[in-house]
């Protein structure tokens, strides 16, 4: 006799493959060549050198981008200085705010175009660039626009003065969003800006330059100089720059501190991280598994606050790891422009090599590697979602930032033990805790030495919410009132 279940099995298709659902690219406008944006105009670099910005998902060139030399940086800083002295710091703050509102609105209007370009240039899934990066960038401008004429209320007992010219150097993991985090508070408080986008992801910043033109922002208030690390160095060393804001690696952050020693330049740094994500046995397990996936595989793990160290309470570790592996199997890796894609391309060849190096180290150090069995496209830079078990605190993969889709897992028994382990790195950017018990959330939140703690969630961001690190994860905060504080002198 044939059982009922067998009959049902026969009827139901087991093919759950998704059909391709690519976002269209015909609505975007991209030039083949981008010059530097100085004093409101696109300007050719003095030495005439350009580099390619390539699509990491298929290794094709998207556009040529100007490389700014010392003379170009100098020109941009001078433009910013002139705009600061003659226009921006003198402007009625409410009018200043209205310019920033304009930028916010123009981004909102062109949000899909920006999302597509962000995914093309950086490799991140369109789902993320469309739903997170670009809307949040607009929201940052909108939030800080409103502060421009309310600065007298921001810091009790004190009034504010702008600092002057801000040199801002941003990373490749959230290109437009980081530009917004930097530019919006600087402009709102009366500073002018020279922005240096990352070498591998300059395009949305250059599109932002177009928006800045459309918004009729006075020339020189925002200048954008593209290039590699040497362009950033010229900016850091420039005597007319009054403030440096940097987001990137701890290593480069430290070299910036050294370069600025003895100068009167102010600086804020948002550096690396190695966040602990802590799962207690009383956590809602399925939600926690989803949270772990988001904490480490969001944006291919190219997130400074990623929950790259997972600590699971021993009693639930088998269940969590097994559910995690099965969830990883369902992650869709592939075309960043496909709306179903969960895991996009690794941002660059260099970064892929770095991740690969760490995978090798993990295996060499005797840990057990597990990777999801997804198909890796032939062209482009890809890394399958990966986790490591059999780790100890001294393993390099537990101590060092990988900046890729690589999760290292350890277990723990007591709350004191996991707090000690969580705090045992030089970093202190973020942390996560999953439990049903409120008091435990506050205990962890209080005892983890990090700037952002997510309880029963992970990787959430908002313009009103300060973000930044303790210890070697940086100095200063971005977002909220604290973000504003970094761009003013109090008196």
């Amino acid at each position: 006799m044939v059982s009922k279940t067998n009959i049902r099995k026969k009827k139901v298709s087991t093919n759950w493959e998704y059909s391709a659902a690519p976002e269209s690219t015909d609505h975007i406008s991209l030039k083949s060549n981008y010059d530097l944006f100085i004093a409101g105009k696109f300007t050719k670099p003095k030495e005439g050198t350009y580099f390619n910005s390539i699509n990491p998902a298929n290794e094709t060139n998207i556009a040529k981008v100007a490389s700014a030399g010392k003379a170009d940086v100098n020109k941009a800083v001078s433009a910013a200085k002139v705009a600061y002295e003659n226009v921006w710091k003198k402007m009625d703050p409410s009018q200043r705010g209205k310019y920033i509102y304009r930028i916010a609105r123009l981004i909102q209007e062109r949000v899909r175009e920006f999302a597509v370009i962000e995914s093309l240039d950086g490799g991140k899934p369109i789902r993320e660039s469309r739903d997170i990066d670009i809307p949040l960038a607009a929201a940052h401008f909108f939030y800080y626009a409103g502060w421009a004429d309310k600065l007298d209320y921001a810091f009790p007992g004190r009034k504010t003065k702008p600092i002057g010219v801000a040199g801002q150097i941003i990373p490749w993991n959230f290109p437009l969003l980081m530009a917004a985090w930097k530019i919006a508070p600087a402009l709102a408080s009366g500073n002018t800006v020279v922005l240096k986008p990352a070498e591998t992801t300059p395009l949305t910043a250059l599109k932002l330059a177009e928006i800045i033109q459309d918004a009729d922002l006075p020339p020189g208030v925002v200048n954008i100089v593209t290039g590699d690390g040497s362009t950033g160095k010229y900016l850091v060393d420039h005597p007319k720059v009054d403030k440096i804001a940097f987001t990137g690696s701890t290593e480069v952050g430290k070299s910036i501190i050294q370069a600025l020693a003895g100068s009167s330049k102010k600086y804020t740094l948002e550096l690396g991280g190695k966040a602990a994500n802590i799962i207690f046995e009383d956590a809602p397990i399925d939600q926690a598994v989803e949270g772990i996936i988001n904490s480490i595989f969001f944006n291919q793990g190219h997130v400074c606050c990623a929950g790259s160290r997972l600590y699971v309470q021993e009693s639930v570790s088998k269940e969590i790891i097994s559910k995690l592996k099965s969830r990883m199997e369902n992650l869709i890796l592939g075309d960043p422009l496909d709306k179903n894609t969960d895991i996009g391309a690794i941002n660059s060849k260099t970064q892929l090599e770095k991740i690969q190096m760490y995978l090798d180290i993990g295996v060499d150090e005797g840990s057990t590697i597990y990777q999801s069995t997804c198909t890796i496209p032939k062209k482009g830079y890809w890394c399958a979602p990966t986790l490591f078990t059999d780790m100890s605190q001294s393993h390099r993969l537990v101590q060092e930032e990988i900046f890729g889709p690589v999760l290292v897992i350890q277990t723990f028994r007591t709350i004191d033990e996991v707090i000690a382990k969580a705090n045992n790195t030089p970093y202190g950017l973020s942390g996560g805790v999953w439990t049903d018990k409120g008091s435990k959330i506050f205990k962890i939140s209080k005892d983890i030495r990090a700037g952002v703690i997510w309880g029963n969630t992970f990787n959430k961001f908002d313009p009103t919410s300060p973000f930044g690190g303790y210890k070697e994860s940086g100095m200063g905060r971005e977002g909220g009132l604290e973000g504003l504080l970094q761009y003013v002198n109090l008196y």
């Binding site: 501190i257 600025l260 003895g262 939140s445 952002v452 919410s465």
Partner: protein
Amino acid sequence: MTQSLHINKTYKLYIDGNFSRTESGRYIKWIDPKKKMIINFCRGSRKDFRNAVVSARSAFKAWSGRSAYNRGQIFYRIAEMLEGRKEQFISELILQGFTKKQSKKEVTLSIDRLVYYAGWADKYQQLFSRVNPVSSPYYNFSTPEPTGVVAAIAPDNSCLLGFLSVVVPAVVGGNTVVVLASESYPLCGITFAEVLHSSDVPGGVINIMSGRHDELIEQFSSHMDVNAIIYCGADSGHASMVEKNTALNVKRAVKYADQNWINPDAQGPYHIMKSQEIKTTWHPIGY
């Protein structure tokens, strides 16, 4: 009646709640401007500093975990103790060459500064905390937290008031401190340990050293388990060395080049915030 011979005090370091001599056995000979009195105070060493940092680190968790109310009470208690020892500090200041009027003023202002900050212990958090109106169903708030172990080079231009103006805001805010007393006018900074010792301040929370600034600034600013450095002084070479060294572990650097410690801007909650971090916590709102 025969005149009683004056008993000279031995000036020691104050580390982990103990009055100890420098492990190095070295001294600095100090002669008062009237050349009546010779004091050999400790020439603290790098090893003394490392010991002090260990002590400050181990005191940090308990101290930062004290209630704000309790920290306020302890600082009020310190003020009470200083009030009781007013004459001792005034005569030490006079011994160091200040006029009676100057000395009285320095001590009175110092007591006021302690009372002032005792009152801030449970208030700056309210001033600088916020609930952030995030645009998603989350409860999100930010609060200040102490940065950790703070190393401080006390100013030379005000040996008690200046000393307290850098140490007190850091410690009221829950940090633990290792402070190097003024080299030119060392006595009050060292003697202040006696006030602390009778004020319910747990050992290790405030560690006081004396010694050569030239020799110790390097170590104060480069130690890997120090979270922040406060440098008081106008020496630009020292200042830029301190700043360079902060790169080693991304220390927070606070500089006072020529602060007048009597001015109103020498105190305030923003001085507390110089050694605070902002922590933001998110939690979903739902069922």
